[in-house]
């Protein structure tokens, strides 16, 4: 029996060969930034164990340019994750309304509406009261 043909390909750098693979890899790498953010955020929340003043002092230290740049990169990563995630929802959720299939735009759109509503609610709970 003959071996099936396999296109020669590097196992470590294959994703550099096409733009769409690079975008895929960038999306995967957002998880590294998000995990790093969770660790910093957990350390921030841990300060509440010592009281509100310790927490405020920690938050004020995060005003240094390095931390602001870090959090801006995390924000871009988090937004990239949210947008690519919601755009994929119509491929996972297929709804029918009687005979008709609910349009994919409607399914993705309802996730964007929920995202906005939840974000506004969190701002209101944390800042608005």
């Amino acid at each position: 029996m003959r071996e099936p043909y396999r296109r020669p390909m590097s196992s470590t750098t294959w994703w550099l060969s096409k733009r769409i693979y690079v975008l895929f890899m960038l999306r995967e790498l957002t998880s590294v930034l998000i995990a790093a953010f969770l660790v910093v955020y957990l350390i921030q929340l841990a300060q509440l164990g010592q009281g509100a003043e310790a927490y405020t002092a920690f938050v004020e230290r995060l005003a240094s340019p390095g931390w602001i740049i870090f959090h801006l990169l995390v924000l871009i990563a988090a937004l990239y994750h949210s947008i690519t995630w919601f755009n994929l929802t119509p491929q996972v959720i297929v709804l029918r309304w009687g005979e008709e299939q609910v349009p994919p735009v409607f399914i993705a759109g309802s996730h964007y509406v929920a995202w906005l509503a939840v974000s506004v609610a969190i701002v209101w709970i944390v800042v608005g009261n």
Partner: protein, 115 residues
């Protein structure tokens, strides 16, 4: 890694993906950018966070947010490592990745219970 366990990790992955997509950007913006830059008063923010996180419901909310997102992230990192040529080391990579998510989850529980 036995094939039968895969469905469990993928279910944590998709639950974490949805939780992170809906909730994370606003948390990054509030706690990482707006509060440090003084867009909201850091002092008032600290008092409000203290009051909020003291409530059991907020602790449950933060536990779900942190644990599911940790497992989502390590699942992605695990598969990215496989896809970049480390396919021979599947078992140690899986153990290290999920182990780190477990450590993160346990740390979250300790932090939340100490507040």
């Amino acid at each position: 890694m036995p094939k039968s366990g895969e469905a469990f990790w993928w279910s944590l992955f998709s639950a974490g993906g949805m939780v992170a997509a809906l909730l994370l950007p606003i948390h990054v913006l509030l706690s990482g950018i707006a509060a440090p830059l003084g867009c909201v008063s850091a002092e008032a923010f600290g008092r409000q966070m203290q009051a909020l996180v003291s409530h059991p419901l907020t602790k449950i909310y933060l536990f779900v947010l942190f644990s599911l997102t940790f497992f989502h992230c390590v699942h992605r990192i695990r598969h990215t490592l496989y896809d970049t040529g480390l396919r021979e080391y599947q078992t140690p990579i899986a153990v290290i990745c999920y182990g780190m998510a477990l450590i993160g989850t346990v740390a979250t529980v300790f932090v939340l219970l100490a507040i």
